[in-house]
């Protein structure tokens, strides 16, 4: 399709041609022509946020839960700089986004014009790719290329900076099919010889583990199915990173729970003692590996990743396979079947016996109380009481995030939206807006901390405007709990600036935003209050007053090895769990 139109109209047309339904944005001088073009159509729906960071997180939530590219529109200068945190977040967590930023007219660029900033310069290190479009003739190509780049290979955010005169200029629009992608064609099929070698290693493993990550989610639903199939075929234990939760069903007996800094005892020990590791769609992040030279010292490692630069970045592996998770898993399953492979059943049985021993330590155990609500208990109840609902969870960052990961169980992908790589406080509330838009009938809950949620609280106003009944479930410990925990364990209990005095009255705050507020501080009232929250057809802030001193265990302190994990005092016998060196830390 070719047609004469203005640059601004091209933007709208290209978004529609790319199947965009919602765009999250905030207007300003440098994007007025685009807003004007938007006004004159009704197919593309605009969600007006209250801060540009919120727009990006909302688009991230939308993208993560739908698998589609999330879309953002902001103005030049402060609009663009406000978006930077969200863009960095999306880059770290490989979330596909296209963010359109307005720019001052081309003849003013470089003159320190009003609301000018070097958007491509500022966003270069926090985007997968970015463009400054200097001619309307380049605009259709750039718009379609941006979607292609955002969604293909390892997904990520792409910024298109469009000067105002280019938005006004007229040119010929070209549809997506008319613009060939020049150079960016990532490899999705893995090398077959390497996949065969991987199958050989896995079939001969005595103590195998599958370590999966967010790449499975990014690869699409099919990848999750194939992961399940491969696990069933082999009988191997499966663990996952924070970003990968839901790719493998938590109810499955082969599931070990999350691994890493706050992962389960069994997941981390299985990683530490395994002899063959299949890492698929994960990236050996420092929150996973702990001390690198003590990470799974006796294993041979296979790493499947669509991004070649992830392989051998942190951990040297024995076999790196560059390819898309679904494609590689499909080949692995096919070859396993074709060669009639069998796992080493006897060795595997011994391995599972060992794993069950680790499991029996019950590393997530906590001390229950009749007086105060334990944060873990609150999430357990939230989980139990939402079983008959179609639930999506987003989180903020801190202890509550880790407890949510530990105690909320996910059976399906795309239902867990959290800021993993960047760890952005303030992610969860706007993200839940994006998720709720994608699933209007479902129950969308932001499991929040009282400190984090204040960072983007203004988006409650957005939720109210679009009648999005998101539920903000605050585990209110009045502390930046995760900071307090580190100060307790690693800084001699000197709680420097981690207590928030004069917190707002969250119930009144909810009401001020035309939402509904609930407060609960007794374990006995919790079930009733949660049910009330679920039934309210409005945005809700649930102020769940929890134990202020609770710590999140297990914990592998930064720079420690998996076998130097700290356990809470209720879990198994601590003396046996930690070796001499680890004990010094307790």
């Amino acid at each position: 399709m070719t047609k004469e139109m203005t640059g601004a109209e091209m933007v709208i047309q290209a978004l529609l041609d790319q199947g965009v339904e919602y765009i999250f944005g905030y207007p300003g001088g440098a994007v007025l022509p685009i807003y004007d073009a938007m006004f004159q159509q009704d197919k593309l729906k605009h969600i007006l946020v209250r801060h540009e960071q919120g727009a990006v997180h909302a688009a991230e939530g939308y993208a993560r839960t739908t698998g589609k590219v999330g879309c953002v529109l902001v103005t030049s200068g402060p609009g663009a700089t406000n978006a930077v945190t969200g863009l960095t977040d999306a880059l770290m967590d490989s979330i596909p986004l296209v963010c359109i930023t307005g720019q001052v007219p081309t003849h003013l660029i470089g003159n320190d014009a009003f609301q000018e900033c070097d958007t491509v310069g500022i966003t270069r290190p926090c985007t997968k790719h970015n463009y400054l479009v200097k001619s309307v003739n380049d605009l259709p190509r750039v718009l379609h290329e941006a979607f292609h780049i955002a969604a293909n290979g390892r997904p990520g955010p792409v910024v298109i900076d469009i000067p105002k005169d280019v938005q006004f200029a007229t040119g010929t629009y070209l549809g997506p099919k008319a613009v060939p992608m020049k150079s960016y064609r990532p490899k999705v099929k893995g090398d077959l010889d390497k996949i065969k070698a991987a199958i050989d290693m896995l079939a001969n493993a005595k103590r195998p583990i599958i370590y999966s990550g967010g790449g499975i989610i990014n690869s699409g639903r099919e990848a999750s199915h194939l992961l399940r199939e491969f696990a069933r075929l082999t009988g191997f234990p499966v663990t996952s990173t924070l970003m990968g939760l839901g790719a493998y069903p938590a109810a499955d007996p082969q599931w070990l729970g999350m691994l890493g800094m706050h992962g389960t005892y069994e997941a981390n020990w299985t990683m530490h003692d395994c002899d063959v590791m299949l890492c698929i769609g994960a990236r050996f992040d420092d929150r996973i590996t702990g001390r690198i030279d003590a990470f799974s010292p006796g294993s041979r490692k296979i790493h499947v990743d669509i991004d070649a630069s992830s392989i051998n970045k942190n951990v040297k592996v024995d076999l790196g396979i560059v390819g898309d998770c679904a494609h590689v898993l499909e080949d692995m399953i096919r070859i396993w079947r074709a060669e009639a492979r069998q796992p080493n059943k006897q060795a595997l049985a011994t391995w599972w016996k060992q794993i069950d021993k680790w499991r029996s330590r019950n590393s997530l155990a906590y001390r229950q109380s009749n007086e105060t609500i334990k944060p873990q208990y609150a999430i357990e109840r939230l989980y139990a009481l939402t079983r008959d609902r179609d639930v999506y969870i987003t989180t903020e960052v801190g202890q509550h995030q880790m407890w949510a990961a530990q105690f909320f169980k996910f059976e399906e992908p795309n239902r867990w939206m959290t800021s993993g790589g960047l760890g952005t406080m303030g992610y969860g509330l706007p993200a839940s807006i994006g998720v709720q838009l994608a699933h209007p009938k479902s129950l969308v809950i932001d499991i929040a901390g009282e400190a984090s949620v204040l960072m983007t609280m203004q988006e409650m106003s957005t939720a109210a405007q679009y009648r999005l009944p998101i539920k903000i479930f605050i585990l209110n410990n009045q502390y930046m709990g995760m900071v307090r925990q580190w100060q307790e364990l690693l800084h001699g209990g000197r709680y420097s600036e981690s207590y928030t005095a004069a917190l707002p009255d969250f119930v009144k705050l909810a009401e001020a935003y035309r939402g509904y507020g609930i407060r609960c501080d007794k374990p006995g009232d919790l079930d009733h209050a949660i049910k009330e929250m679920i039934d309210v057809d409005k945005p809700v802030i649930f102020d769940c007053m929890v134990d202020q001193a609770e710590n999140c265990f297990p914990m592998i302190p930064s720079g420690k090895a998996h076998n130097e994990m700290l356990l809470g005092d209720v879990a198994g016998d601590i003396a046996k769990a930690i070796d001499e060196r680890g004990k010094v830390l307790v």
Binding site: V120, G121, R124, P125, K128, H129, N130, L132, I149, R154, K182, S183, Y184, R291, I292, D293, D307, A308, S309, I311, N312, K313, K316, L490, P557, S558, G559
Partner: protein
């Protein structure tokens, strides 16, 4: 050393893996578009890689391609990372490690060397220039400018020899490199 943080004071361990540092020359074929060089340089500074030398110029006008030659140093793992990180950039077509045995490369650099002097020193400078096959591209009664091409080490030794003879200044292109044999990139 005195102001270094003692290992126990940080939660983060000191780097634990020790490998030897190697020097590699990478040839990078890129789309000649705005911002490519900024991306490459930003990648190196952002990830803490070293740039020992960097040259860039358009090489195929119709195809809109430029070639960047980067000399860098790091452990073998870091060198592999650099290559893959470069390959990840959208505008980069191909990266070849010319220090790798699979595609050994040949390297050259050009330098212009200004020497000022009279009498014995002047004669000696000319004599050495001749031995190094450096050309005189500008001459006055008091000074010469030599043009010399060759591997970086050769240029280095030439400059060192000129030092006591009245070296004023040097301008160097940095390393350009190409693979040996009949195949192109």
């Amino acid at each position: 050393m005195s102001n270094a943080t003692p290992a126990s004071a940080s939660h983060y361990p000191a780097a634990t893996v020790k490998e030897k540092i190697e020097r590699h020359t990478l040839s990078v074929l890129v789309d000649n578009e705005p911002g490519v060089l900024a991306r490459v340089i930003g990648l190196f500074s952002g990830r803490g890689y070293n740039i020992d030398s960097l040259t860039v110029s358009e090489t195929e006008h119709e195809k809109h391609l430029s070639r960047i030659t980067i000399v860098t140093s790091g452990t073998p793992m870091v060198i592999e990372q650099i290559r893959h990180q470069l390959e990840r950039l959208v505008q980069i077509r191909r990266v070849v490690d010319l220090t790798d045995s699979a595609m050994p490369g040949i390297e050259r650099e050009l330098a212009m060397v200004k020497v000022r002097g009279k009498g014995e020193n002047r004669v000696e400078a000319l004599r050495l220039a001749d031995a190094f096959r450096a050309r005189v591209i500008d001459a006055g009664t008091e000074s010469f400018i030599f043009e010399i091409t060759g591997a970086s080490e050769k240029i280095e030794s030439f400059i060192n020899l000129m030092l006591p003879l009245g070296l004023v200044e040097v301008s160097r292109t940095g390393v350009v490199a190409i693979s040996r044999g009949p195949e192109g990139m």
